[in-house]
């Protein structure tokens, strides 16, 4: 229940959607309640790139991972034991914060490579700049040879 959903409700529709932009926007339409307020994300179109800002309070830089695979950018966070400067003694009187593993994916297109994305992390907010890249003009249709 606490893990954020990875894909939007209309994921299948998105996948077979038309243009890059349509897919991108559809992806970003995940209803808030599906993410339980975790990894709340802003995305803005800055002209030649997309600016993504994701809230990850309490995590440190070393706890974060970002992968690119099949056109999806996946950001995951998990507390690492070794950078424990926290004191976790005492019993909980109230617990609302989620400090376990979480991940979230965004469709960014298959033309984006690792080197294109710039990222920074400060005060619990991950900022990423994802350049817009034109999809290759016309994709060759690959016909299946019928023998």
């Amino acid at each position: 229940m606490l893990a954020p959903s990875i894909f939007g409700r209309n994921f299948v529709d998105d996948f077979f959607g038309n243009s890059f932009d349509d897919m991108f926007q559809e992806m970003f339409r995940t209803p808030q309640n599906e993410t339980m307020g975790l990894m709340s994300t802003d995305v803005q179109d800055m002209g030649d790139y997309y600016q993504l800002e994701m809230e990850l309070p309490g995590y440190q830089k070393e706890d974060l991972k970002a992968d690119l695979k099949d056109g999806y950018l996946t950001i995951s966070a998990e507390h690492k034991e070794e950078n424990d400067e926290k004191d976790e003694k005492g019993k909980f009187v109230r617990q609302e914060r989620y400090t376990g593993y979480c991940q979230r994916s965004f469709y960014v297109g298959e033309n984006i490579t690792q080197n294109d994305i710039k990222a920074g992390f400060e005060n619990g907010v991950l900022k990423m700049a994802i350049p817009k890249k034109e999809a290759k003009a016309v994709e060759e249709k690959k016909y299946i040879a019928i023998e």
């Binding site: 993410t35 800002e53 309070p57 009187v93 109230r94 619990g124």
Partner: protein, 116 residues
Amino acid sequence: MKATGKRYPMKSDIRERDDRFVLEIDLPGFDKENIKAYIQNGYLIVSALRERGKEKENHKWIRQERYYGNYQRSFYIGTDISEEDLKATYRFGVLKIQIPKKAKKTEQHQGKIQIA
């Protein structure tokens, strides 16, 4: 220790230790200067302001889930505790306040809690 306020967005943990309570509040992406904490009538009040940067105004939003503006939440801590008893730090987007169970004997007056 009771807490009032919305469950979201200032998600908070409170842990009880032998001599104190440890309060941790998620406040990602704030400037330390924009977080204020003070005591009023036995309530510890934490308020924070986050404004949307000017550079963002003229660009198209594709998705907006984060909240900008004023945040406030209060926690009942009793009337014996004053600002001097509390220690606060802000790290990695989390405000952490240590609240002793027993107050030092000091005169009560209203002041702001230093956030280190």
